[in-house]
Amino acid sequence: MSCPVTIRIQNADFDIAREIAALTASRTDIGAVVSFSGICRGDKQDAKIAALTLEHYPGMAEEEIGRHVDEAVARWPLHGVTVIHRVGRLTPGENIVLVLTASVHRQAAFQAAEFLMDYLKTSAPFWKKEESPIGTGWVEAHARDDQALERWTKS
């Protein structure tokens, strides 16, 4: 069972349909594809957001995502994984991140996509800075993201 893996960090937007087509083209062993796209919101609680700027640690970001994709491939019977994370300045409505997982069955595809998103949120070296009418500031990490991660720990 082959599982092609694509990991990209880029300024440009991505095209979900093209990424799904690339993952499934000329294969008939894929029964389920899950995609997650994270999008820049225009407000947070009651504050308006004008833009986000994404900074990353080149080299480590790709390696860290690669390690978690490897773990996902070891844990679930996957037929393909794509992770694309954008960096640079993004405005509300723009895509930030894409995770695609393909498998024979839906549960594996759903679980692997959630696992990868939980890890991206808490351990991939990316940082968000928000611009709003009242100034700019770094986004703080959420305790709920650390909690989301805990469910994947093997007991």
Binding site: M60, M117, A124, P125, F126
Partner: protein, 83 residues
């Protein structure tokens, strides 16, 4: 050894990377944070709350008590907020 800084740690230190030669008594990541904090006001500000600082050695996350011997590149940054 090369040191890199990201996000607000980078902004507070005032540079993205530098090459340093800490003394032999600096053995762990937390030793290095303490040593860097003593290099001036910008460093003291960047590392004023060591427990929120995350570190990586050669692209892998490490804990504060990790040994730095043999490291080519050490990075300091706040908790990550990607995804």
């Amino acid at each position: 050894m090369k040191v890199k800084y990201f996000a607000w740690v980078r902004e507070r230190v005032g540079k993205a990377e530098e090459t340093i030669e800490p003394p032999a008594s600096v053995r762990t990541v937390e030793d290095l944070i303490a040593w860097l904090s003593g290099r001036g006001e910008t460093y003291a500000h960047a590392f004023e709350t060591p427990k929120v600082i995350r570190a990586a050695i050669d692209h892998a996350h490490v804990r504060p008590d990790a040994a730095i011997a043999g490291a080519r590149e050490i990075a300091f940054f706040p908790p990550m907020t990607g995804g």
